[in-house]
Subunit: 238 residues, 2 copies
């Protein structure tokens, strides 16, 4: 590329990156509030979260448009195209994380019963894990740090294990007190949404690795033993 085009391209890229970082910050905020709203069953907060998700959706569309226009205007080569593709993908993942936070807030609105203390603790821990994963992976993206990204990628196992134990606990509650089945089901979906946020963090981590090394991580991510799938174990969805 000619020098002035290179400069314009770099400036486009840094705009994209700062927009993604703004999206990331908003998603972090939405997630933190959604977990609070769920555990305190704060309907006002939950409603505010549902409304605010729109902003993240709009931002994602604008990032996607900017990205595509940048490709068309600057005609980057293969190596540089990678950065734009990764920006599009990460934007999609952050937007999905926003959707999932919104879903958690909606569950908060649907639950009528108080949540048993041990379950509150478990959900708070699951929420904290997902918040930490999101923060780490956004930091890794800001620093283009593939090693840090891989750490996030490996840590997802912990979220899965924790989700699995909440799944079992919820099923036990339901069996012990069938009146709890309605609310427990919503908590089950809320926990699942938190677990899915972890999956999107690993997607982002994979894309940071791809950005730096030109390929997705090669090692297999540790997954729970598949042979243990029974009606009472949760399940790794895609």
């Amino acid at each position: 590329m000619q020098e002035h085009i290179v400069k314009a391209y770099d400036s486009d890229l840094s705009t994209l990156k700062s927009d993604l970082s703004e999206m990331g910050g908003l998603a972090e905020e939405q997630l933190g509030k959604a977990i609070d709203a769920l555990l305190r069953r704060d309907t006002k907060l939950a409603e505010a979260i549902v409304l605010k998700d729109e902003k993240l959706d709009q931002k994602q569309v604008s990032v996607e448009q900017q990205a595509v226009v940048t490709i068309a205007k600057r005609q980057p080569m293969a190596q540089d195209l990678r950065q734009i593709m990764v920006a599009i993908r990460i934007g999609t993942d952050i937007e999905r994380i926003g959707d999932l936070a919104k879903n958690i807030a909606k569950r908060a609105l649907a639950i009528n019963d108080p949540i048993p203390t041990s379950l509150t603790k478990g959900l708070r821990r699951l929420g904290a894990l997902s918040q930490s994963q999101l923060k780490q992976v956004l930091d890794a993206f800001a620093a283009t740090d593939a090693e840090k990204a891989i750490k996030v990628w490996r840590n997802d196992e912990e979220i899965d294990a924790h989700y699995n134990s909440i799944f079992r606990e919820l099923l036990t509650y339901m069996m012990e007190d069938p009146r709890m089945i309605g609310s427990s089901t919503h908590l089950l979906f809320a926990a699942k949404n938190i677990e899915r946020i972890g999956d999107h963090c690993t997607n982002i981590a994979e894309n940071i690795h791809y950005l730096v090394h030109g390929e997705m991580p090669k090692e297999q991510r540790p997954k729970r033993d598949k042979t243990s799938v029974t009606p009472f174990s949760s399940l790794n969805e895609d």
Copy 2:
């Protein structure tokens, strides 16, 4: 664009379109088989579906790469960029539909109990609705038919309503026979996955509308009354 570039661009676009149509066909096949595997609890079929999803994932990555390379090489103007952006988005939605079909197949592997007949009927109907929506929207894309797409978009309400009734039925089963809670929970997630496939069909429909008219559909999609959310109603997630 110069004439030879226009031709090359048209040829790139038609390759993209035929790749997406191939992906769509594969997703339809996976979905049909997944519903069969679930209802007949056919573990062999379920395992084959899980394995085959990889193909759809690879195809999506290749569509995305082609799309981005096409933009860089042909430098299309705003109007034409839209076609490529839509191709990228539809590829993502079809890939997700494949993931959801895979999830349904995994649920088939986790369920130990026979499924009560009335529930089998309900799930078969939900499955048929989602298959029909997927077929219609892929046809609409092949024909660039925005009116047909809007029909699909409006029909999603039927899937939501049907999912809601299955949700209630499953909760009733759980309350009547707590031993069914494990398997019922997996069926709940399977039904949710089918309902999500409907959502991805509406995403595709919106993108066809955008392709033709340059904007997303303006009317509000009919949604179930939000005030009816209780612990025993399902919930529209994003």
